[in-house]
Amino acid sequence: MERRTIFRGWLLPVAFVLPQLLLTFFFFLWPAGQAIYASMTRQDAFGIRTQFVGAENFTDLFSDPLYLDSIRRTVVFSASVAVLSMAVALLLAVFADREIRGRGLYRTLLIWPYAIAPAIAAVLWVLLLHPQIGWIGHGLRALGIHWDYKLDGAQAMLAVILASAWKQVSYNFIFFLAGLQSIPRAVIEAARMDGARGWRRFRTITFPLLAPTTFFLIVVNVVYAAFDTFGTIRALTRGGPGKATETLVYKVYVDGVENQNLGSSSAQSVVLMLAVILLTAIQFRYMGRKTER
């Protein structure tokens, strides 16, 4: 890295990093520090006096059954979204990688959903699943199924999982396809010569060679499901019915913005920060081929 240094003087480079550093300090580090500080304080009911309480907010949090429920819910939700969207994406990528007519068109038609906003995906699914006006919702009712995701917690969870996974398929598809294309044709040919066919060839040769892509996507999808689905949940269910779809991020918003419980919300933020740090560390530990330092 040192050999790259080609210009002298420090005024110019400092001027170059300054905008990035200022934004980082004011909008990332400072608020994060504030969150850590606030997580160790508690305000009285009128928000006038603030008292230092140490780790009390955290011990309260982890002895609160509602919070533990929310952790469990987030894990189930994230795992379902990751598995569902990755499975569909892998299936489509395997077939789009075949030498067939029109594969360029198929790829384009599977890539554009990358552009759909999580919240807009949710609106589309509202329009499909709505018990009164939605195609699927209406159809299910016609079949005699009591479908109303605004009243039934399990159905609500299903709806947010479907909308979240649907939006993410395209991203996973792009990566799986790139992963498949980077497998040398010779390896596949050799397996074909050895008589490994179809499913067996996929299971014993292709899938193991895709492992780095799969692992990378697991981390990305879990981060996506846990942190980027606030808009999806808000548009579809607003965390309800009851708290049936209240994930950890949604709960930070509800407790902090709607209920104005600063101490608890900050403690939850700090817990989430630790979770992101852990996930990022895992990602760089196993995927860190590019940023060695």
């Binding site: 077939f95 038609l109 759909i116 939605g134 792009i174 933020s269 989430l272």
Partner: protein, 276 residues
């Protein structure tokens, strides 16, 4: 080699495409239907050819009591553009500084930027709001965009690109007596042009699709983005004008999809070669 048509592949892929095209088509067709019919659950797969006026209607007037859709599209467009251009600009500069200069606390700067990877807005909702309020940036376009412009990912990406530039090229530029600005313009910018294009797509979509941040910092309806606007429309418990919601959804989808499709080649390459 294989002359037979691979029916399995075609069927799977057509179903896959339908999984994404069909919902959007349904919503598009639905937008043109009579609101009464939609309420009764009588959505048709075919658009009503006389109903296209709804698009012009929501663009110009919006839904009763809400901001017109053209205005929300303009706010979204401005936001996405400002975030994409801003992030690329300050990331190019900071990557340039940490890669080609030596200055005090260089690695401290690098790690400070790196850390922001671990602090997404979702985990620091309340304190960031407090900082924004302190700066008087609530309900301003600056507040909507500037805090989202800091980017560790883009800085890391450009640093990788710069580190991969062959020594000979750097050496040649040095021999030519290129100053910092000429080196940046004549060597670094052309070398990273493809990455800039790819990143532009990713960041434009990122900016367009923001929801939580605008929800927090902009309560003034005049600053409603299109995503915020649609969620507001379906959030009311009273009679929702479903045909207008559907028309607005279609309009909200078009710009980011157009950017992805127009720049597909760079985008796919850049996405899978960069870290994220």
């Amino acid at each position: 080699m294989n002359r037979r048509i691979d029916w399995t592949a075609h069927i799977v892929l057509i179903l896959g495409v339908a999984l994404f095209v069909l919902p959007v088509w349904l919503v598009f067709a639905g937008a043109t239907q009579d609101p009464g019919a939609i309420d009764r659950g009588e959505l048709s797969l075919l658009p009503n050819l006389h109903g296209f006026g709804v698009f012009a209607d929501v663009l110009g007037n919006g839904v009763a009591g809400a901001t017109p859709v053209w205005r929300m599209l303009a706010v979204s467009f401005g936001m996405a553009l400002a975030i994409a251009v801003g992030k690329i600009a300050i990331s190019l500069l900071s990557a340039y500084a940490v890669t080609f200069f030596r200055f005090p606390l260089r690695m401290v700067c690098f790690w400070t930027i790196f850390i922001t990877l671990m602090l997404p807005v979702e985990v620091r909702i309340i304190p960031t709001y407090a900082v924004m309020a302190g700066f008087g940036l609530i309900n301003s376009f600056t507040g909507l965009t500037v805090p989202l412009i800091a980017s560790a990912t883009a800085t890391l990406l450009f640093r990788q690109v710069f580190l991969a530039i062959p020594d000979e090229l750097v050496e040649a530029a040095r021999m030519d007596g290129a100053g910092p600005w000429r080196f940046f313009r004549d060597i670094l910018l052309p070398v990273s042009a493809a990455n800039v294009a790819a990143l532009f797509v990713i960041l434009f979509v990122y900016g367009w699709n923001q929801y939580l941040w605008p929800l927090l910092v902009a309560t003034d309806p005049r600053l409603d983005t299109i995503v915020i606007g649609i969620v507001k429309m379906i959030g009311t418990d009273s009679a929702v004008p479903w045909n207008k919601v559907m028309a607005t959804s279609v309009l909200a989808l078009l710009p980011p999809i157009a950017v992805v499709l127009l720049m597909q080649r760079w985008f796919v390459k850049g996405l899978t070669e960069g870290d994220k």
